[in-house]
Subunit: 519 residues, 2 copies
């Protein structure tokens, strides 16, 4: 390795160490930090993020990149070193446009605003959060303007989470999706109450829930020697290294779905990070390719597997053993319950069919806020009006509406689209996986997940952030991002569920009475 | 404030933020970090500590200190600003002597060696830890040599924990103490088995223990809105700000003393940090004056209060309510049990009388290791031989011997003397406190601790690290460190306990049978 490259890597080590350190500061803030720690934590994060920024964007990095380009000799175009230099050059040029003072200001405000959002949401009082959100929108606008000048502020923010994706592309994808999904939701609504999730809405002991979800994600392949699961307000996954990946979740004693699918979801993110190869550690490339790719992993495990019949053929007997109240409930009734389609207020608990509508709402509202078409003070009203338009519902309060998601409080404006992109990609990837390894579905039914995980490791995880997302999609699937498979998947799955009457299903389950015990 | 001072303070903010961030990295490593996180954590700590060091010792700080000295105008000698400049100048000049690469190497090794020590202690196998300790001693020697050149390596390390204290002074104090304590221990040994701690050695539900100790330290004045209590292998207290102070403890289901006195001890450290005024936050002076001062607080709460009759007149009925097995045990029997004198293997569980002997052993052995008179490979034998000499015991294994303490694994060589200095100081401070506020002992019996805490806040806590320890002792007590009061305290307390025969005590307790239920 040349001296220049070695020196560049030493700087990247610092940048990465500071990044991972900030992750711990943030994880701790959302899990264990006492209330009195908030103000100082904001300072710590501002300092660490600023130093990280200064280290990456210092003149020395620019000179080293130039020298390395002249030297050449980095090997194949897709060698680790060639990719590191290419990606770091992009990061360097892009981030250099943002002043360190703005980075610090943002990090500080993110840390404070998060605490304010927690209280505001707990009290369902938007007015508490409004000033913090106003500052946040202003700071993100300044960040976007610094990153510009592409004309579209949202493009600049979107790139932070989904590199090279454009707002116009997202809009085109979403328009196509909306045209397919809205009629589907309508058709399902016309099928009446043929599906019920009452079996999930009973009292479920939180300790037993915890034990069960830990056992499930361990079986899927999440390695608890290299990770943890803790409690938080809004579940997330973060990591300090591939050897230290932290899932968080929340438990609802009256609804099994929250922790069960939430934890499987986060474990999908977690297994991605655990699959990053040691060679990329401390290079700044040792993480997922994009948030959309990350979400493709979490949604694949949560939905394509976690809400499938095959998955529960294996796990349902264990679930029944853990929760005797499910003993009289047949597998088919349970399968339908976890796939109920019902327009609802909370995105993270939305069914697969209406989920994307929640995203479209946020995608539009974020642009309106950023471009000043909607004032922050009017965000609750704008939210509620879009909820009515997309889902035919009006939230009874802001905790079930505009305050529900953590994202805006932590500066994640431009992030939401990646959820829908991840859904689309998850089906493309799974179809390719079973094409390459047709034994996967049968393995899943036996509770064997290593064939699928091995495929994901080989095709996706091991590349970290080496390739732009579009390039990685092409490398894996042979083509571009395509919502066709996703729409077909939804049509097939929900067409089947909602075409069969409930009665024939319950007797088809072969496990006796399907009616749940009432609470 | 002058521009120069403002600029200096901005740099100190960074130094302090990085210091507090490293504290979180260390806290997490000892509480929640999964095993796979160790290697990366060592990198993070090395980077953060190195950047902290570079920030403090950069040329700019030197120039600013010179300019500020020329400008003058910092107010009174003991104003915050004058103290900040004085202390930072000392820190700057001292730490500048140590190369940043050595700081990073040490931080990295500390992080790795800690994990190795945990395993080595768990398996009671010194050979696992030996190579890590050899490296540690070598690194600490290099650090001491860099800090030198005073001729005495140990002086340089001691200063890190007890500024301006000299090895020769410690030796003189210890020699005096030894002359008093050894005959006392002998006299107590001659009194036979008049005291038993069997009542503490029963089964005590860990959940109930936790609830009780949390209630106690809350009552003492530890603020859980600005702090936490978590589990660890070797209890410690750390903080990320005065608003975020973390106690750790461990529970022994078969012995009440471990968590009870351990947690009270750590809460003494914690209340000190919670008492640092906001004005000193982020200045690098926002912490205790020295480790000796810190220990004076923890030992005051743990021993002078926590092992006193008055304290338990208030708390014992609550303890009996929490643990019905203590119902038939009289207060006096309990008081004697928690004050049993018995040479034992584990320092942190040693009685007040033999405690200092454990420290003297370490003080001598550390110097022998540092100066090369004892090889690391021979440390277990040297330890055991000194245990025989000081306490008349030979540890049956290394977990109960040379491996018991965390300190050497985390580079704390030169730290142990501060424990004994803290003991001495704790009595001096308490005697002054009740001279100033004679109502304190009666308040303690009523379970009111705010008079004592207010005195400590006013006299000690609010000064943070503004004064050298000797100066702070003089400001508080009017004189120098003096082991006289400590020796008198020990003689009075244990003279009384061991002069009365057990039988008369048990009937004097007025609570019926004193014999504990057997397990």
């Amino acid at each position: 390795m040349s001296d220049k490259l070695q020196r560049l890597k030493a700087i990247l080590n610092d940048v990465s160490d500071l990044d991972m350190t900030a992750n711990l500061l943030e994880w701790d803030q959302s899990t264990y930090m006492p209330p009195g720690g908030g103000e100082a934590r904001a300072d710590h994060l501002a300092t660490v993020r600023r130093l990280q920024h200064e280290r990456l964007t210092g003149d020395e990095v620019g000179r080293l990149l130039e020298d390395i380009a002249q030297e050449g000799g980095l090997g194949e175009e897709d060698s680790d070193d060639a990719c590191i230099v290419r990606v770091v050059k992009e990061d360097y040029e892009r981030r250099r446009k943002v002043p360190a003072s703005l980075v610090a200001e943002l990090a500080r405000h993110v840390s404070l605003a998060h605490g304010i959002w927690v209280r505001s949401r707990a009290e369902s009082d938007f007015s508490l959060f409004q000033p913090a959100l106003e500052t946040m929108v202003e700071l993100k606008r300044r960040q976007a303007e610094a990153l510009g000048p592409s004309g579209c502020l949202y493009d600049a923010l979107l790139h932070e989470f989904e590199p090279f994706m454009k707002t116009a592309q997202v809009k085109a994808v979403f328009d196509g999706l909306k045209a397919e999904i809205v009629p589907l939701v309508k058709a399902v609504g016309g099928a009446g109450d043929s599906v019920s999730d009452a079996v999930l809405r009973q009292r479920f002991d939180v300790g037993a829930q915890r034990e069960f979800v830990v056992a499930v994600v361990r079986r899927l392949g999440f390695d608890f020697d290299r990770g943890r699961l803790d409690l938080t307000v809004h579940p997330f996954c973060t990591n300090m290294s591939p050897g230290d990946v932290r899932l968080t979740t929340r438990f609802d004693p009256e609804f099994l779905g929250t922790a069960l699918f939430g934890t499987i979801h986060e474990s999908g993110h977690g297994m991605y990070e655990q699959g990053i190869p040691p060679a990329l550690r401390r290079t700044t490339l040792g993480t997922g390719a994009s948030l959309g790719f990350h979400e493709s992993q979490s949604r694949l495990w949560e939905n394509i597997l976690g809400r499938s019949r095959g998955f529960w053929r294996h796990f349902y007997p264990e679930l029944q053993a853990a929760f005797p109240q499910l003993a009289p409930v047949g597998l088919e009734t349970f399968y339908r319950a976890i796939n109920i389609v019902r327009p609802s207020f909370i995105r993270v608990e939305a069914d697969e069919l209406t989920y994307s509508l929640h995203i479209m709402l946020r995608f539009e509202l974020e642009q309106d806020l950023l471009d000043g078409r909607v004032r922050v003070a009017d965000a609750p009203a704008a939210w509620n009006s879009k909820m009515q338009e997309y889902l035919g519902l009006t939230p009874p309060n802001d905790a079930l509406g505009v305050l529900q998601d953590v994202h805006w409080s932590i500066g994640y404006i431009g992030y939401f689209p990646t959820y829908a992109l991840g859904n689309i990609l998850s089906v493309q990837l799974y179809e390719k996986a079973i094409l390459d390894a047709p034994g996967i579905p049968a393995a899943v039914e036996r509770g064997e997940f290593s064939p699928l995980l091995a495929w994901l490791r080989e095709k996706i995880h091991r590349h970290g952030r080496k390739y732009p997302p579009a390039e990685l999609i092409r490398r894996v699937t042979g083509g571009p991002l395509d919502s066709g498979p996703y729409v077909r998947y939804l049509k097939t799955k929900f067409g089947e569920i909602y075409s069969r009457p409930a009665r024939s299903i319950s007797s088809a389950s072969g496990r006796g009475r399907s009616r749940p015990r009432s609470q």
